[in-house]
């Protein structure tokens, strides 16, 4: 999947851009080169015409061909020059490169011009005829340096490689970004799909469980009433057993009510209240129930934190968290710290208890997950549900034998 995405969103577009640039650039360079060659050809033909006129004059004055050509041999851009008679016999020549005259008289038939590549660069070759007063025909063979064209081509090639490199680097950055975005989008989509499936599954379980709870609650109520009657009518020696039975039925009813409550969608009745008041009242009630003798609880805050939330539900949140902390801590302290930061309230609940293993930590907010002997594992699940209903977040960090810290982030304040 990753390979396919890389191919689709990185390699292929990058390669496509590079190929398009390469092809267009090549077309463009070839076009410009042809145009320039054409212009150069026209200009050099005009130069050659002037040369032919001058040479004609010298020939008319009976100057030897070799002497005439020597006059032009040091011209900066003329690499070689030769004069040929109508029988294709060389009358004289001059070359800057020790005998280099790349002309095949056997193959040349008429006037012609062409460009050759030589170790000295591109050379424009012109073979053209001219006549002098006595009607004799001569041919002028001229090799004209195209070093400026070479320099231009070289510069163009250099520019091409610089731009090519630039586009390649930019392309890598751009398409890598695109690939990352696409991967991120796919990841989010996958998560959303999973969440949707999870919700669907949860809805089905909720419906099923609600139905079961409802069906069980009615017979349990009847049983409870029956035990009430039994309690009044049974002999004295059986009354204690009946009371025990009645308590067990009430316990089962309680569990079923908890199940039913956890499955209900939350309705928030928001009000403004001081966090400190809420936490301290929860701590008071818990201390009576579960607080071990050697455990101290401390509440601190940077400012007076006011929450706009459902007080009863938030109370449930702190009951669940603090009850867990108190049950897990035999000695040490539990610190509750509240900090208001801009539009967020950050609350940490830190204990020095036995800690939670990494494996358990990942599942701690799952419904019906519990390592306690007493408990059905919906406390922290409900806690998370309540905080998320307030658009808040909850997380936990823990180390075995070092303690556990719950982090709660609530909006507003």
């Amino acid at each position: 999947m990753i390979k396919k995405n890389y191919l689709l969103f990185f390699y292929m577009p990058l390669l496509g851009i590079v190929i398009i640039f390469f092809v267009l650039s090549n077309f463009n360079r070839n076009y410009i080169r042809k145009k320039v060659e054409h212009l150069v050809k026209e200009q050099l033909q005009a130069t050659a015409e002037i040369l032919k006129v001058n040479i004609s004059h010298f020939l008319e004055e009976n100057n030897p061909a070799r002497e005439i050509l020597d006059r032009y041999s040091q011209e900066e851009n003329i690499y070689y020059i030769a004069m040929i008679d109508e029988n294709k016999e060389i009358l004289g020549w001059s070359s800057r490169f020790d005998g280099y005259l790349p002309l095949s008289l056997e193959n040349i038939e008429k006037e012609n011009s062409w460009i050759i590549d030589s170790p000295a660069g591109k050379i424009f070759n012109l073979f053209s005829s001219f006549s002098i007063g006595n009607e004799k025909t001569y041919y002028l063979y001229l090799g004209y340096s195209l070093k400026d064209l070479d320099a231009m081509v070289s510069h163009s090639r250099q520019s091409f490689f610089i731009i090519f490199g630039f586009i390649f680097v930019i392309g890598i950055i751009f398409f890598m970004g695109l690939y990352q975005l696409q991967s991120h989008y796919l990841e989010k989509k996958r998560e959303a799909e999973e969440e949707k499936k999870e919700k669907e599954r949860y809805r089905e379980i909720s419906a099923f469980t609600s139905g079961v709870a409802h069906e069980i609650k009615n017979p349990l109520n009847s049983l409870s009433l029956l035990f009430e009657l039994f309690q009044k009518r049974v002999p004295q020696e059986l009354r204690e057993d009946v009371t025990l039975g009645k308590k067990e039925i009430q316990k089962v009813t309680g569990i079923i009510n908890q199940f039913a409550d956890s499955l209900k969608p939350l309705k928030l009745n928001k009000e403004k209240f001081l966090l400190e008041d809420l936490v301290l009242s929860v701590l008071d009630s818990l201390k009576k129930e579960v607080a071990p003798a050697g455990v101290e609880t401390k509440y601190s805050q940077n400012v007076r934190v006011v929450l706009n939330a459902d007080r009863a539900l938030m109370s449930q949140v702190f009951i669940n968290i603090l009850k867990n902390s108190l049950e897990a801590t035999e000695t040490g302290d539990i610190q509750i710290q509240a900090n208001q930061q801009r539009k967020k309230v950050l609350i940490t609940v830190k204990d020095t208890g036995k800690g939670i293993s990494d494996e358990d930590r990942k599942r701690i907010f799952d419904p019906f997950f519990s390592r306690k002997k007493k408990g059905i594992g919906i406390g922290l699940y409900l806690t998370k549900k309540i905080i998320e209903a307030h658009e808040g977040k909850i997380d936990v960090q823990s180390e075995i034998e070092q303690g556990t810290t719950f982090f709660i982030q609530m909006p507003g304040g």
Binding site: I50, Q74, L91, G92, Y100, P119
Partner: protein, 145 residues
């Protein structure tokens, strides 16, 4: 127009009047006249061949079967770093030309001797000592294969 051309020609002529190659009209690398000759070295001489260049190494070669003698123009002496010896067998590929005195001359492009091949010019006659491929690779003298 004609007057202007004459004037410019006069100017150019004034600058370059002193140049004169003094070589035979046929003394150039004529691609139409390439031949291959195998013979033995009879004489080794050095003499100037082109205007403003260093002396060239010239081998007088005698063809094995016909005893025809050829003057082989190898390269400027400074460019060539191999030793030739009289009586050595050499195969030469190059362009043939004759002088007025009917001397047969070959401008060497490639030479084979002692199992080595030395490339002196490209196939159009461009000399390696004037910026050819060997020169660009650091002025190595002759290309060995």
């Amino acid at each position: 127009m004609r007057g202007q051309a004459k004037l410019s020609l006069f100017f150019i002529s004034a600058i370059f009047a002193c140049f004169s190659f003094g070589q035979e009209p046929q003394h150039f690398y004529n691609v139409d006249k390439e031949i291959k000759v195998e013979g033995t070295i009879q004489k080794i001489i050095m003499e100037p061949r082109y205007k403003n260049t260093a002396p060239f190494l010239i081998l007088v070669l005698e063809k094995k079967d016909t005893q025809q003698r050829y003057n082989i123009e190898v390269s400027p002496v400074w460019f060539f770093d191999h030793d030739f010896h009289k009586g050595e067998n050499v195969v030469v590929i190059g362009s043939l030309y004759s002088t007025k005195e009917k001397t047969q001359n070959i401008i060497a492009r490639e030479m084979r001797f002692r199992g080595e091949t030395l490339v002196l010019r490209d196939k159009h006659g461009f000399p390696n000592w004037r910026g050819g491929p060997m020169k660009k690779r650091g002025g190595r003298k002759g290309k060995r294969f």
